[in-house]
């Protein structure tokens, strides 16, 4: 459905200096998929999103959505887009802003008040609906941005740093909103620095660095060496036994131990051995998620 083919984007300044933002980027994103895009600052995430929305054109290769150039696709269908930078006139009132975007999105005039009410309630900004944009806090502004992206049931959603500025409660609710978007025929792209969020929400995560696609990571766990790494085990009782059973375990205090494991099979066997030996286990979590590990390797930071 969405296809980047050897896509490249080079910016040229008036003085002729070139900056390569994206280079040889090839990726296909299918219908029904939630794709995460992760990368350090300046990796090229925003450029990729601008290419996808047709705000800029590639200098090499191509981007196609349903076989169309992105701008042509957007002009015909629209894309649900939440920008990292809030881009609404500060003098507009929140409700007016949503009505405007609903009008532009092609929602029938008679349906606009109902649709606006629905997203206002969904995003919990009812008490701010008559406030000017400039009077909204960062979190409320972010929710308003998400509300305008959700106005119409778009086939493609592009969410750039969607939980930026949200408090923990709304970060949690946002996950629920994205899970609701997971439908056949719908594609969701989330660019985020928050690897934990991508690990939970995305089916795959494209890791980019210096404009290049470094690797694409499947976020689910499997019985492969990908799950090798350090795990953190919290115990309620039997902490003394842990050191005996796992001499390499590192006691990090508070009843927690870090153990290096070769894979999920070994992890399960180790936990079973600990429980059988009298240890009461409270929780087991990867010290670093699979995605975090892959990310560190991809962008050149190991350890």
């Amino acid at each position: 459905m969405i296809e980047f083919s050897s896509t490249g984007k080079v910016y040229k300044s008036l003085l002729g200096r070139s900056v390569t933002a994206v280079e040889e980027f090839s990726l296909q994103i299918g219908e029904g998929e939630i794709l995460g895009i992760a990368g350090p600052n300046g990796a090229g995430k925003s450029t990729l999103i601008s290419l996808l929305l047709g705000y800029i054109r590639p200098t090499h290769g191509s981007v196609r959505i349903d076989g169309l150039e992105p701008r042509a696709y957007v002009e015909r269908n629209g894309i649900g887009y939440l920008s990292e930078l809030m881009s609404v006139n500060p003098n507009w009132k929140a409700e007016d802003a949503l009505s405007r975007f609903a009008t532009l999105a092609g929602i029938e005039p008679g349906d606009i008040p109902g649709r606006v009410d629905a997203v206002i309630n969904q995003l919990g900004i009812d008490e701010h609906r008559f406030k000017k944009i400039k009077a909204l806090s960062k979190g409320n502004l972010q929710r308003l941005g998400l509300a305008q992206a959700l106005l119409r049931d778009e086939r493609i959603m592009v969410l750039d740093e969607p939980t930026h500025g949200l408090d923990p409660v709304w970060t949690q609710r946002f996950r629920g909103i994205v899970e609701d978007l997971r439908k056949p025929g719908k594609t969701v792209i989330i660019a985020s620095h928050n690897l934990d969020e991508l690990q939970r929400l995305a089916d795959r995560v494209a890791i980019i660095d210096r404009g290049r696609l470094q690797r694409v990571v499947q976020t689910g766990y499997s019985q492969t060496t990908e799950t090798a790494g350090v795990y953190r085990i919290a115990v309620v009782s039997g902490a003394g036994l842990m050191s005996e059973m796992f001499p390499a375990a590192v006691d990090i205090g508070g009843g927690e131990f870090e153990i290096r494991i070769a894979g999920v099979s070994e992890l399960n066997a180790s936990i079973a051995r600990a429980i059988a030996g009298g240890v009461m286990v409270a929780s087991v979590v990867p010290s670093r998620s699979v995605l975090e590990q892959q990310f560190r390797e991809a962008v050149g930071e190991t350890g």
Partner: protein, 236 residues
């Protein structure tokens, strides 16, 4: 043009009224009272003819400044401030959006001048509104296409438009009487110098249609060039 964009026209008109319309009326009142104040103080009586001439003087001064204010950032503001991101993620053609914005700004501009002329008729002396209204519309349309092109090309369009206006006027005053290449150069420059002459001609009812055609034609070509720029040039 798609229905969603047509329905958005009223929002664009509302933006004009709030962001620019009030400022234009204040500019009109400031210039109007500056010209009318001394005459009122000296209790000079107004005849139909003198009232028409005074209104023409006020409108010719206000229209230029008002057109610059009204057209400032017509395209570039959205690029400069990033508003394009949400606007154009919706199913909207960028050139059509700004073409419609231009039309709504023109409607708003003429409405503002209708209000100003109405205020003059009520507070100073009854006047026929058509000639000053036509002149104000002509000023907007003559500057409009050029301002639209500049705004499509540059982020800081207002200083560039003023610069073009000043350079054109200076070149006209320096080489207007010279033959050959200087004349060719003047022909290529925006015909701003026609506008002051047009004010008197409209009031006298002696408008040279070829001059009007040249003024509006030049602006229309620039407007179309602006649309092509918006179609072809990346927005981000």
């Amino acid at each position: 043009m798609r229905l969603n964009l047509l329905r958005y026209a009223m929002w664009q008109l509302r933006d004009f009224a709030r962001d620019r319309g009030i400022a234009l009326i204040l500019i009109g009142l400031a210039i109007g009272t500056t010209i009318l104040g001394p005459m009122k103080a000296m209790s000079i009586p107004f005849s139909d003819n003198s009232a028409r001439q005074i209104l023409a003087t006020i409108i010719s001064q206000v229209a230029f400044i008002a057109a610059f204010v009204a057209l400032n950032g017509i395209v570039s503001n959205d690029r400069k401030l990033g508003y394009y991101r949400f606007l154009f993620s919706k199913p909207v053609r960028v050139p059509a959006y700004y073409a419609q914005q231009f039309v709504m700004f023109f409607v708003g501009f003429v409405a503002v001048f209708a209000v100003m002329i109405g205020l003059f008729a009520v507070l100073v002396h009854p006047v026929a509104p058509l000639a000053p209204l036509i002149y104000s519309a002509l000023v907007f349309l003559s500057l409009g296409g050029i301002a639209f092109l500049i705004s499509s090309l540059f982020r800081f369009d207002w200083p560039i438009l003023v610069g073009v206006f000043l350079v054109t006027n200076i070149l006209h005053s320096l080489i207007d009487d010279k033959e050959g290449f200087p004349q060719l150069l003047l022909r290529l420059l925006p015909p701003f110098q026609e506008l002051p002459r047009m004010s008197a001609a409209i009031n006298a009812g002696t408008v040279d249609s070829s001059r009007v055609f040249w003024l509006l034609g030049y602006s229309a070509i620039c407007f179309v060039a602006g649309l092509i720029v918006l179609r072809r040039r990346p927005f981000g």
